[in-house]
Symmetry: C2
Subunit: 136 residues, 2 copies
Amino acid sequence: MDVRNSVQRNRILELLQQERIHVSAHWVFDQLRGEFPRLSLGNVYRNLHILVDQKLVHRLPLGGTRDVYEAARDDHHHFICDRCGAIIDLPGSDELSRSARELVGQSGGSVSQLSLEIRGICSSCLTGEHRSEPVR
Amino acid sequence: MDVRNSVQRNRILELLQQERIHVSAHWVFDQLRGEFPRLSLGNVYRNLHILVDQKLVHRLPLGGTRDVYEAARDDHHHFICDRCGAIIDLPGSDELSRSARELVGQSGGSVSQLSLEIRGICSSCLTGEHRSEPVR
DNA sequence: CTAACTGCAAACAGTTTGCAGAGTG
DNA sequence: CACTCTGCAAACTGTTTGCAGTTAG
Protein backbone atom coordinates (compact mmCIF):
# COMPACT_ATOMS: atom_id res chain seq x y z
CA MET A 1 0.00 0.00 0.00
CA ASP A 2 2.02 2.85 -1.34
CA VAL A 3 1.46 6.45 -0.49
CA ARG A 4 1.09 8.92 -3.32
CA ASN A 5 1.30 12.65 -3.36
CA SER A 6 -1.79 14.56 -2.33
CA VAL A 7 -2.22 18.29 -2.42
CA GLN A 8 -4.59 18.17 0.51
CA ARG A 9 -2.36 16.04 2.67
CA ASN A 10 0.57 18.37 1.97
CA ARG A 11 -1.51 21.33 3.07
CA ILE A 12 -2.62 19.56 6.24
CA LEU A 13 0.98 18.91 7.17
CA GLU A 14 1.94 22.50 6.36
CA LEU A 15 -0.87 23.79 8.54
CA LEU A 16 0.25 21.69 11.47
CA GLN A 17 3.84 22.75 11.02
CA GLN A 18 3.19 26.44 10.60
CA GLU A 19 -0.09 27.76 11.83
CA ARG A 20 -0.70 26.31 15.25
CA ILE A 21 0.67 23.59 17.38
CA HIS A 22 -2.12 21.50 18.80
CA VAL A 23 -5.24 21.15 16.74
CA SER A 24 -8.23 18.91 16.21
CA ALA A 25 -9.25 17.27 12.96
CA HIS A 26 -12.22 19.58 12.83
CA TRP A 27 -10.06 22.67 13.14
CA VAL A 28 -7.96 21.49 10.19
CA PHE A 29 -11.16 20.89 8.27
CA ASP A 30 -12.43 24.40 8.96
CA GLN A 31 -9.13 25.98 7.97
CA LEU A 32 -9.01 24.24 4.62
CA ARG A 33 -12.63 24.57 3.60
CA GLY A 34 -12.00 27.87 1.87
CA GLU A 35 -9.13 26.39 -0.08
CA PHE A 36 -10.86 23.11 -0.92
CA PRO A 37 -14.60 23.77 -0.97
CA ARG A 38 -15.41 20.07 -1.42
CA LEU A 39 -13.10 18.88 1.34
CA SER A 40 -14.60 16.21 3.57
CA LEU A 41 -13.94 15.62 7.23
CA GLY A 42 -13.46 11.92 6.57
CA ASN A 43 -10.59 12.71 4.27
CA VAL A 44 -8.95 14.92 6.87
CA TYR A 45 -9.06 11.99 9.28
CA ARG A 46 -7.65 9.61 6.68
CA ASN A 47 -4.79 11.94 5.89
CA LEU A 48 -4.04 12.59 9.53
CA HIS A 49 -3.78 8.82 10.04
CA ILE A 50 -1.37 8.54 7.13
CA LEU A 51 0.75 11.37 8.50
CA VAL A 52 0.77 9.69 11.89
CA ASP A 53 1.89 6.43 10.26
CA GLN A 54 4.68 8.35 8.56
CA LYS A 55 5.60 9.76 11.94
CA LEU A 56 5.29 13.30 10.62
CA VAL A 57 2.44 14.00 13.00
CA HIS A 58 1.71 12.92 16.56
CA ARG A 59 -1.74 12.14 17.83
CA LEU A 60 -1.91 13.26 21.41
CA PRO A 61 -4.08 11.13 23.65
CA LEU A 62 -4.89 13.96 25.97
CA GLY A 63 -8.46 13.05 26.70
CA GLY A 64 -11.21 15.53 26.19
CA THR A 65 -13.79 15.13 23.51
CA ARG A 66 -11.63 15.56 20.46
CA ASP A 67 -8.35 14.02 19.46
CA VAL A 68 -5.49 16.46 19.21
CA TYR A 69 -2.72 16.40 16.63
CA GLU A 70 0.61 18.18 16.38
CA ALA A 71 3.45 18.13 13.87
CA ALA A 72 6.27 15.87 15.03
CA ARG A 73 9.22 17.73 16.50
CA ASP A 74 11.87 17.70 19.20
CA ASP A 75 11.35 16.06 22.53
CA HIS A 76 9.02 18.08 24.64
CA HIS A 77 6.35 17.63 27.22
CA HIS A 78 2.83 18.97 27.59
CA PHE A 79 1.31 21.01 30.35
CA ILE A 80 -2.46 20.74 30.18
CA CYS A 81 -4.70 23.10 32.08
CA ASP A 82 -7.49 21.15 33.76
CA ARG A 83 -9.70 24.20 33.75
CA CYS A 84 -9.45 25.84 30.31
CA GLY A 85 -7.95 22.91 28.41
CA ALA A 86 -5.00 24.88 27.11
CA ILE A 87 -2.09 22.73 25.99
CA ILE A 88 1.23 24.39 26.66
CA ASP A 89 4.50 22.98 25.35
CA LEU A 90 7.35 22.50 27.75
CA PRO A 91 10.91 21.90 26.59
CA GLY A 92 12.50 18.51 27.22
CA SER A 93 14.15 18.24 30.60
CA ASP A 94 16.84 15.72 31.43
CA GLU A 95 16.16 16.04 35.10
CA LEU A 96 12.47 15.43 34.72
CA SER A 97 13.04 12.52 32.36
CA ARG A 98 15.49 10.94 34.75
CA SER A 99 13.12 11.27 37.71
CA ALA A 100 10.28 9.76 35.72
CA ARG A 101 12.32 6.84 34.47
CA GLU A 102 13.56 6.16 37.96
CA LEU A 103 10.04 6.17 39.38
CA VAL A 104 8.81 3.78 36.72
CA GLY A 105 11.83 1.57 37.28
CA GLN A 106 11.07 1.30 40.98
CA SER A 107 7.69 -0.14 40.11
CA GLY A 108 9.28 -2.88 38.05
CA GLY A 109 8.48 -1.30 34.71
CA SER A 110 10.83 -0.09 32.07
CA VAL A 111 10.33 2.79 29.73
CA SER A 112 11.16 3.66 26.18
CA GLN A 113 9.81 6.69 24.33
CA LEU A 114 9.09 8.59 27.49
CA SER A 115 6.61 11.40 27.12
CA LEU A 116 5.06 13.39 29.93
CA GLU A 117 1.79 15.12 30.45
CA ILE A 118 1.67 17.46 33.36
CA ARG A 119 -1.78 18.56 34.45
CA GLY A 120 -2.64 21.46 36.64
CA ILE A 121 -4.20 24.88 36.49
CA CYS A 122 -2.45 27.36 34.25
CA SER A 123 -1.42 30.81 35.42
CA SER A 124 -4.08 32.56 33.32
CA CYS A 125 -6.79 30.52 34.98
CA LEU A 126 -5.35 31.11 38.42
CA THR A 127 -5.47 34.86 37.95
CA GLY A 128 -8.92 34.66 36.42
CA GLU A 129 -7.93 36.21 33.14
CA HIS A 130 -7.77 33.12 31.01
CA ARG A 131 -9.11 33.12 27.45
CA SER A 132 -12.77 32.30 27.20
CA GLU A 133 -12.43 29.07 25.26
CA PRO A 134 -10.10 26.10 25.39
CA VAL A 135 -7.60 25.95 22.57
CA ARG A 136 -8.90 23.24 20.35
CA MET B 1 -30.35 19.54 43.99
CA ASP B 2 -29.82 17.12 46.83
CA VAL B 3 -28.31 13.71 46.51
CA ARG B 4 -30.16 10.77 47.96
CA ASN B 5 -29.05 7.30 48.77
CA SER B 6 -28.91 4.84 45.90
CA VAL B 7 -28.10 1.16 46.16
CA GLN B 8 -26.65 1.17 42.69
CA ARG B 9 -24.44 4.19 43.25
CA ASN B 10 -23.13 2.66 46.45
CA ARG B 11 -22.22 -0.51 44.60
CA ILE B 12 -20.50 1.43 41.84
CA LEU B 13 -18.32 3.19 44.38
CA GLU B 14 -17.59 -0.09 46.15
CA LEU B 15 -16.58 -1.67 42.88
CA LEU B 16 -14.18 1.13 42.09
CA GLN B 17 -12.70 1.03 45.55
CA GLN B 18 -12.31 -2.71 45.81
CA GLU B 19 -12.31 -4.64 42.59
CA ARG B 20 -10.06 -2.86 40.17
CA ILE B 21 -8.39 0.47 39.90
CA HIS B 22 -8.97 1.95 36.48
CA VAL B 23 -12.19 1.07 34.74
CA SER B 24 -14.56 2.28 32.08
CA ALA B 25 -18.26 2.97 32.52
CA HIS B 26 -18.99 -0.04 30.37
CA TRP B 27 -16.91 -2.32 32.58
CA VAL B 28 -18.87 -1.16 35.61
CA PHE B 29 -22.07 -1.80 33.70
CA ASP B 30 -21.02 -5.35 32.82
CA GLN B 31 -19.99 -6.11 36.39
CA LEU B 32 -23.32 -5.03 37.85
CA ARG B 33 -25.66 -6.51 35.27
CA GLY B 34 -25.91 -9.78 37.17
CA GLU B 35 -26.77 -7.93 40.36
CA PHE B 36 -29.17 -5.45 38.74
CA PRO B 37 -30.63 -7.12 35.66
CA ARG B 38 -32.40 -3.94 34.57
CA LEU B 39 -29.39 -1.69 35.04
CA SER B 40 -28.88 0.84 32.28
CA LEU B 41 -25.64 2.24 30.98
CA GLY B 42 -27.05 5.74 31.15
CA ASN B 43 -27.56 5.37 34.85
CA VAL B 44 -24.00 4.20 35.35
CA TYR B 45 -22.82 7.36 33.63
CA ARG B 46 -25.11 9.54 35.73
CA ASN B 47 -23.89 7.99 38.94
CA LEU B 48 -20.27 8.23 37.92
CA HIS B 49 -20.79 11.94 37.32
CA ILE B 50 -22.33 12.35 40.75
CA LEU B 51 -19.43 10.49 42.36
CA VAL B 52 -16.99 12.68 40.46
CA ASP B 53 -18.83 15.78 41.72
CA GLN B 54 -18.55 14.42 45.23
CA LYS B 55 -14.83 13.94 44.61
CA LEU B 56 -15.10 10.28 45.54
CA VAL B 57 -14.10 9.25 42.04
CA HIS B 58 -11.65 10.69 39.53
CA ARG B 59 -12.27 10.71 35.82
CA LEU B 60 -8.94 10.23 34.13
CA PRO B 61 -8.51 12.10 30.86
CA LEU B 62 -6.14 9.53 29.44
CA GLY B 63 -7.35 9.58 25.88
CA GLY B 64 -8.30 6.40 24.14
CA THR B 65 -11.84 5.63 23.15
CA ARG B 66 -13.37 5.23 26.57
CA ASP B 67 -13.23 7.43 29.62
CA VAL B 68 -11.51 5.86 32.59
CA TYR B 69 -12.52 6.22 36.21
CA GLU B 70 -10.79 5.39 39.49
CA ALA B 71 -11.73 5.78 43.13
CA ALA B 72 -10.17 8.89 44.64
CA ARG B 73 -7.08 8.17 46.73
CA ASP B 74 -3.62 9.38 47.68
CA ASP B 75 -1.42 11.34 45.35
CA HIS B 76 -0.06 9.17 42.64
CA HIS B 77 0.88 9.29 39.01
CA HIS B 78 0.02 7.13 36.03
CA PHE B 79 2.25 5.23 33.71
CA ILE B 80 0.40 4.44 30.51
CA CYS B 81 1.65 1.91 28.02
CA ASP B 82 1.33 3.28 24.51
CA ARG B 83 1.20 -0.23 23.10
CA CYS B 84 -1.18 -2.26 25.27
CA GLY B 85 -2.94 0.61 27.01
CA ALA B 86 -2.21 -0.67 30.50
CA ILE B 87 -2.49 1.98 33.19
CA ILE B 88 0.00 1.40 35.97
CA ASP B 89 -0.07 3.40 39.19
CA LEU B 90 3.10 5.02 40.39
CA PRO B 91 3.51 6.38 43.91
CA GLY B 92 3.82 10.12 44.41
CA SER B 93 7.37 11.36 44.13
CA ASP B 94 8.58 14.60 45.64
CA GLU B 95 11.53 14.72 43.31
CA LEU B 96 9.40 14.26 40.22
CA SER B 97 6.85 16.81 41.40
CA ARG B 98 9.57 19.34 42.09
CA SER B 99 11.15 18.87 38.65
CA ALA B 100 7.80 19.22 36.95
CA ARG B 101 6.84 22.35 38.86
CA GLU B 102 10.19 23.88 38.08
CA LEU B 103 9.86 23.16 34.38
CA VAL B 104 6.39 24.67 34.25
CA GLY B 105 7.60 27.68 36.19
CA GLN B 106 10.37 28.31 33.67
CA SER B 107 7.75 28.63 30.98
CA GLY B 108 5.94 31.32 32.91
CA GLY B 109 3.17 29.06 34.12
CA SER B 110 2.26 28.11 37.62
CA VAL B 111 0.83 24.87 38.80
CA SER B 112 -1.61 23.70 41.38
CA GLN B 113 -2.99 20.18 41.64
CA LEU B 114 -0.08 18.66 39.79
CA SER B 115 -0.75 15.28 38.30
CA LEU B 116 1.49 13.42 35.92
CA GLU B 117 0.95 10.98 33.14
CA ILE B 118 4.02 9.19 31.97
CA ARG B 119 3.74 7.40 28.65
CA GLY B 120 6.02 4.78 27.28
CA ILE B 121 6.15 1.10 26.55
CA CYS B 122 5.70 -1.15 29.55
CA SER B 123 8.09 -3.96 30.38
CA SER B 124 5.59 -6.67 29.43
CA CYS B 125 5.23 -5.22 25.97
CA LEU B 126 8.98 -4.84 25.59
CA THR B 127 9.56 -8.52 26.32
CA GLY B 128 6.68 -9.50 24.11
CA GLU B 129 4.72 -11.26 26.82
CA HIS B 130 2.11 -8.64 27.51
CA ARG B 131 -1.48 -9.57 28.15
CA SER B 132 -3.56 -9.87 25.02
CA GLU B 133 -5.95 -7.02 25.72
CA PRO B 134 -5.61 -3.54 27.11
CA VAL B 135 -6.94 -3.14 30.63
CA ARG B 136 -10.10 -1.17 30.14
C1' DC C 1 -3.26 1.31 -16.44
C1' DT C 2 -3.10 0.45 -11.55
C1' DA C 3 -3.81 1.66 -7.28
C1' DA C 4 -4.12 5.59 -4.17
C1' DC C 5 -6.92 9.57 -3.20
C1' DT C 6 -11.39 11.92 -2.82
C1' DG C 7 -16.38 13.40 -1.55
C1' DC C 8 -20.35 11.68 0.10
C1' DA C 9 -23.17 9.48 3.17
C1' DA C 10 -23.98 5.88 6.17
C1' DA C 11 -22.30 3.34 10.09
C1' DC C 12 -20.17 3.22 14.50
C1' DA C 13 -18.78 3.87 19.57
C1' DG C 14 -19.11 6.31 23.60
C1' DT C 15 -21.73 9.56 26.08
C1' DT C 16 -25.64 12.45 27.23
C1' DT C 17 -30.51 13.52 27.83
C1' DG C 18 -35.92 13.58 27.91
C1' DC C 19 -39.51 11.02 29.64
C1' DA C 20 -42.62 8.50 32.70
C1' DG C 21 -42.62 5.52 36.49
C1' DA C 22 -40.36 3.65 40.98
C1' DG C 23 -37.98 4.68 45.24
C1' DT C 24 -36.03 7.67 49.13
C1' DG C 25 -36.45 10.66 53.06
C1' DC D 1 -45.70 14.24 49.39
C1' DA D 2 -41.60 16.33 46.98
C1' DC D 3 -38.08 15.37 44.58
C1' DT D 4 -34.33 12.04 43.35
C1' DC D 5 -33.20 7.93 41.02
C1' DT D 6 -34.15 4.61 37.43
C1' DG D 7 -34.82 2.10 32.78
C1' DC D 8 -35.62 2.95 28.29
C1' DA D 9 -34.82 4.80 24.02
C1' DA D 10 -33.57 8.48 21.28
C1' DA D 11 -30.25 12.08 20.34
C1' DC D 12 -25.54 13.74 19.98
C1' DT D 13 -20.47 14.03 19.07
C1' DG D 14 -16.40 12.50 17.22
C1' DT D 15 -14.45 9.02 14.30
C1' DT D 16 -14.38 5.35 10.87
C1' DT D 17 -15.70 3.02 6.63
C1' DG D 18 -17.97 1.46 1.99
C1' DC D 19 -18.72 3.09 -2.45
C1' DA D 20 -18.06 5.05 -7.00
C1' DG D 21 -15.67 8.42 -9.35
C1' DT D 22 -11.04 11.15 -9.83
C1' DT D 23 -6.14 11.59 -9.94
C1' DA D 24 -1.05 10.47 -9.47
C1' DG D 25 2.88 7.89 -11.14
